[in-house]
Symmetry: C2
Subunit: 393 residues, 2 copies
Amino acid sequence: MTMDLTFLGTGSAYPSPGRGASALVLRTEGECWLFDCGEGTQTQIMKSQLRASEYRSWGPAVPVGPHDITVNRVLVPPGRITKVFISHLHGDHLFGLPGLLCTVSLQTSPGPPPGPGPPPGPGPPHLPRLDIYGPPGLRKYLRVSLVHELETLPDQSPPEGQLSCEVTAACGPLHPQEQQGRSVPLDVSSDCYLLFEDKRFVVKAFRLFHRIPSFGFCVQEQDRPGRLNTELLKKLGLHPGPLYGRLKAGEAVTLEDGRVLLSSDAMEKPVPGRKICIFGDCSSVVGEGPLKVCQGADILVHEATLADEQQEKAVDHGHSTPRMAAAVARACGARRLVLYHFSQRYKPSALQRDGDDDDVLTLRRQAEDALQGSAVDVTLAEDFLTLEIPLKR
Amino acid sequence: MTMDLTFLGTGSAYPSPGRGASALVLRTEGECWLFDCGEGTQTQIMKSQLRASEYRSWGPAVPVGPHDITVNRVLVPPGRITKVFISHLHGDHLFGLPGLLCTVSLQTSPGPPPGPGPPPGPGPPHLPRLDIYGPPGLRKYLRVSLVHELETLPDQSPPEGQLSCEVTAACGPLHPQEQQGRSVPLDVSSDCYLLFEDKRFVVKAFRLFHRIPSFGFCVQEQDRPGRLNTELLKKLGLHPGPLYGRLKAGEAVTLEDGRVLLSSDAMEKPVPGRKICIFGDCSSVVGEGPLKVCQGADILVHEATLADEQQEKAVDHGHSTPRMAAAVARACGARRLVLYHFSQRYKPSALQRDGDDDDVLTLRRQAEDALQGSAVDVTLAEDFLTLEIPLKR
Ligand SMILES: [Zn+2]
Ligand SMILES: [Zn+2]
Ligand SMILES: [Zn+2]
Ligand SMILES: [Zn+2]
């Protein structure tokens, strides 16, 4: 199964024409999961869909590291987004979500073709579900932001002719398109939050230290059992049928010549699942959960807002430098460290000019220096960079 | 005094790479006033500041009408925005405001140079004031959106280790950077809201019919009394001094030869103020206020979301067509009608391709057809179009 990671925004603090605000998409067959959704994310998604000839993209021109696998442009249809994970409630990770939800709703509605406004009529039963995971406060933020979206007020005149002042109701009750959510408690033994688990993935969240509560996410693909080695079975004279099922179920089978074939001998090796860890803004981790759950990450995405020389300032603001990110990657034994969430002073390489003081390549070098002697590769994320996540070596 | 109007976004429903969501800037000497603030407005502002060589702009390539005055690119420093007017609480007019306020705060803060995060420390006393006018609900929306901005939580761990569910407090109390606001009652006799008045301007709001309460704004420049005709005075032998002051104050003055000079003869003609009217989303006006207050508008900015053929659908969604907009402009005796808020199906002329069904120039033609026999000029707005507002003829 192919998996890839696309960066839609790699800037900190605010979106700029050179770097969007934080957002990245993990794409697996048939589904897109969005991690953070800064202002302008839906526009970045649209840009990623335009043909290169129509849109002059800034990146990726230089940024990939020596061992990068693939860089290309993927299609992320907003209607394909099935899960959204919000690391924390700072605007540069959040302010694009209400607009994205409106657009997803327009695109997935079974009603009239997308027009200028949201379609009338009932929503929830017809719409595909989109799960949103995030910190306390996110639900209220969305309800208040969307209070006037997707519904029509019968009364066109505000109460008592007031132009300002009163607050709109609707904070407690469900939004018309909202289903009942749930709280996820911290699992004390693992120091993590189990967000969900299905046949393909386990997704956990862990705590980070920032200015406000911040989280990281670990997406662990489930190991897949090896397939039946049908070539071997045919050589042994076994043909598809109930015996195959017993071998798959782990039973041993007696062949016609009396030999016993163990299930483990009839199966190819299991395929170990991949692990992708995405850190929200942080100057350090909280507790033991983060490093434990991220052990052996195939890709560890970590912020590097400022250069090592500005570590004190970075930490004051709850942020990290390349050296700090590298230390986390090393402690986790990650295969690849991807840096993102750069201060807007670090222009994308394609926009870099002679005489610019700050060079984003410095950030990569600092991480690489800190990782000397380790097996961790370093990649600089750029807007619209896509990284394929290969199967385990 | 020069005045101009710059469109930062001219699309409806959502921002796209071709058309930003609604936002326009009225610029007078020293101040910028923002009307609506869809998602991505701050990025549009930044794009408007980039040199043309650095940013490939889509527009304005074709859109201007036969009598347009000036098209150019203006600088809109976010820190210069002193007033924001929000027509209604749909996301395509609103979702860019929290992010813009964060950026304005970063740029105007007297603290450390703009870094990756908001500066710590107290804000209000040092910051220039920015007034925000809008419908009920706007204040709550901003408080909830900005609850985590511009302040640091001492407690990094959410209550009881919950990752989701609880709502954040802070809805009633003032935001740390907020000053007490006020309500503006409808003035029943004029059927308008007087938002403010100073020596230079009177700004009023009026009611529109949309799916939710929506407003339009009328910016009326104050008439300026004519200056003293100093040339004439010198000819008459009068030199600068107390007599000048008396003439300015409206008094008559007796000359040495006994003749009486009236104040009105000593003054040049008064300069009539310009009037700019900006309509929010609407399918019609509410009450008599709108047409009364907009009489004689120099520029009337009106939405035209869909073409005349789709009037029924437009009205169903609370929107207008070119013909409907033209009828308003004609009823107001406006000098110039500027159309905007186009369905995203109407690509900017520069992005139009052979075979595209929908051509934005159709919208202009429909308005022009409806205005035949009138003196109203028609302009199609495009992102980054700037219109100079000339002094009254
Ligand atoms: Zn951030
Ligand atoms: Zn943050
Ligand atoms: Zn609109
Ligand atoms: Zn609207």
